[in-house]
């Protein structure tokens, strides 16, 4: 696909920041949002102008702000990634049971999290690799089982170049029939109820054929697949 000239140019796909920027376009005014560790955390940097969202961290805070200035870290104020944070004006703090009541009770409108595998029926695997040391699922199983909107942020393929969008997950599951949308370095896809990844958008410069080649699960390709507009 690439000629010699293109080899010295950036590959036609999004980086992690690009994935986060695309996901930020999904935010709606007034939403409460839980961001997972990794790419999802970056979404907070790209909230569109004119839209107000409140970030929840499941260890027990609504209204999480940016990292503190150097010298102002507070050991009693961290996020679920155990990073020091700040609380914005209007923030609230609560216990872990209340925190998951918000999540389980669907008071939080959007969950964005990473994944190792997603199936074309919306199953997700992101907590355990057999034969490797298990660290635990943390809050991921509660989040995926209950959130109304779940967007997965991930690279389209793993380090070995294998597709992470499958007809069936091979790794132990975190949740079943729960993922609604996936934003990768190559595409935006929607999980349809009758099984299949519907291709919604291509990353800038990426061809439908590239996405087809990188997708192992059932891919539904509409006649027209627009390119993402990252603004």
């Amino acid at each position: 696909m690439r000629n010699a000239l293109n080899n010295v140019q950036p590959a036609p796909m999004l980086d992690k920041t690009g994935i986060a920027r695309r996901i930020s376009q999904e935010l709606e005014d007034g939403w409460y949002v839980n961001l997972g560790i990794g790419i999802p955390t970056l979404v907070a940097n790209f909230v569109p102008q004119g839209i107000e969202v409140t970030f929840q961290s499941e260890n027990g805070i609504l209204g999480m702000g940016p990292f503190p200035f150097e010298g102002e870290e507070d050991a009693d104020l961290i996020n679920a990634g155990k990073q020091t944070i700040t609380a914005l004006p209007g923030a609230s703090i609560f216990d872990s049971a209340t925190s998951f009541a918000m999540i389980r009770g669907q008071h939080v409108q959007l969950t964005v999290l990473g994944a190792m595998e997603v199936s074309d029926t919306g199953d997700i695997a992101n907590w355990k690799i057999p034969g490797k040391l298990v660290k635990g699922m943390g809050g991921a199983m509660d989040l995926v089982a209950s959130a109304e909107n779940i967007i997965v942020a991930m690279m389209h393929t793993n380090r070995a170049g294998e597709s992470k969008l499958l007809s069936q997950c091979s790794l132990p599951l975190t949740g079943v029939n729960c993922v609604k949308k996936i934003v990768t370095n190559l595409a935006v896809l929607e999980v349809t109820p009758d099984a299949g990844f519907r291709l919604l958008e291509r990353a800038p410069g990426v061809r439908v054929a590239d996405i087809q080649a990188a997708t192992a699960g059932r891919l539904i390709i509409p006649d027209h697949v627009p390119e993402m507009q990252l603004g």
Binding site: S57, E58, N59, G60, I61, P66, F67, P68, F69, E70, G71, E72, E73, D74, A75, D76, L77, I78, N79, A80, G81, K82, Q83, T84, I85, A87, I93, F94, D95, S96, A97, S99, F100, I103, R104, D123, L133, V134, K135, G136, M137, G138, G139, A140, M141, D142, L143, A145, S146, P172, L173, T174, G175, V176, N177
Partner: protein, 233 residues
């Protein structure tokens, strides 16, 4: 009844080998540092510890792992701890991993007299294996049982001699629900004040849940992931 005790050693009177403990905290935030140190200095062992995390190698519950005082760990996430890995792999440490929200609710239920509840978390995964499944509004849920403990060890910011507690920041986390679920709940606080001096409107954990309380000392409050942004010029 006198709830105030002198220190962690006195507060842990009656805590014996083989017992089940709950320990508040998320990561190293809001952990009962003084009680953990007192346990590490004791010869109590074969403990079952219910805690969201297992500390790091040289702090928090990592101290009790290092001295091999824990037989079983019930937690939601146990990374960041090499000694934990060693003991789990050599089979000397039993580990039960539970979704974080289910862990919190199982503690709350234990304290609230609710023996079990249905949750969608873990359905269709290995967490749901062998558990009763019921559908509500077409959505499958699994039955999770309440948790209680012989001792719950919690950490608060301020407390009074009646056991009323106020937490600070996200150090609250699992502490209030675990305080409810201990047959004996020990609260260690940064500042202990006479009963009647805290505003009743501001109490997070009512004293009814707390049997013993003491003012801790030498809080380290270690930060696991120090993240900052540069000062604006």
């Amino acid at each position: 009844m006198q709830k105030q005790v002198a220190d962690a050693r006195a507060a842990l009177e009656g805590l014996r080998s083989g017992m089940t403990l709950m320990l508040g905290g998320f990561g190293l935030c809001g952990i009962p540092e003084n009680c953990i140190t007192a346990l590490a200095e004791s010869d109590i062992n074969a403990l079952t510890c219910i805690s969201n995390n297992a500390g790091v190698d040289d702090f928090g519950l990592g101290l009790l792992l290092h001295s091999r005082q824990i037989r079983k760990m019930i937690a939601s996430y146990v990374g960041e701890n090499a000694e934990f890995e060693r003991q789990m792999l050599d089979g000397s440490l039993e580990v039960d991993l539970i979704p974080q929200g289910s862990l919190a609710e199982r503690c709350r239920a234990g304290g609230a007299g609710i023996p079990a509840f249905f949750t969608p978390a873990g359905y269709g995964t290995e967490v749901g294996e062998g558990k009763e499944v019921r559908s509500f509004d077409g959505k499958p849920h699994i039955l999770e049982h309440a948790l209680t403990a012989d001792f719950a060890l919690v950490k608060a910011w301020r407390g009074d001699t009646d056991g009323n507690l106020i937490y600070k920041g996200t150090a609250r986390n699992f502490n209030p629900v675990m305080a409810m679920a201990g047959r004996i709940t020990v609260a260690e606080v940064e500042e202990l004040v006479p009963a009647g001096t805290l505003d009743p409107n501001m109490i997070h954990t009512p004293g009814v849940f707390v049997q013993r309380i003491f003012q801790g000392s030498r809080y380290e409050k270690r930060i696991e992931q120090r993240t900052t942004r540069p000062h604006a010029r």
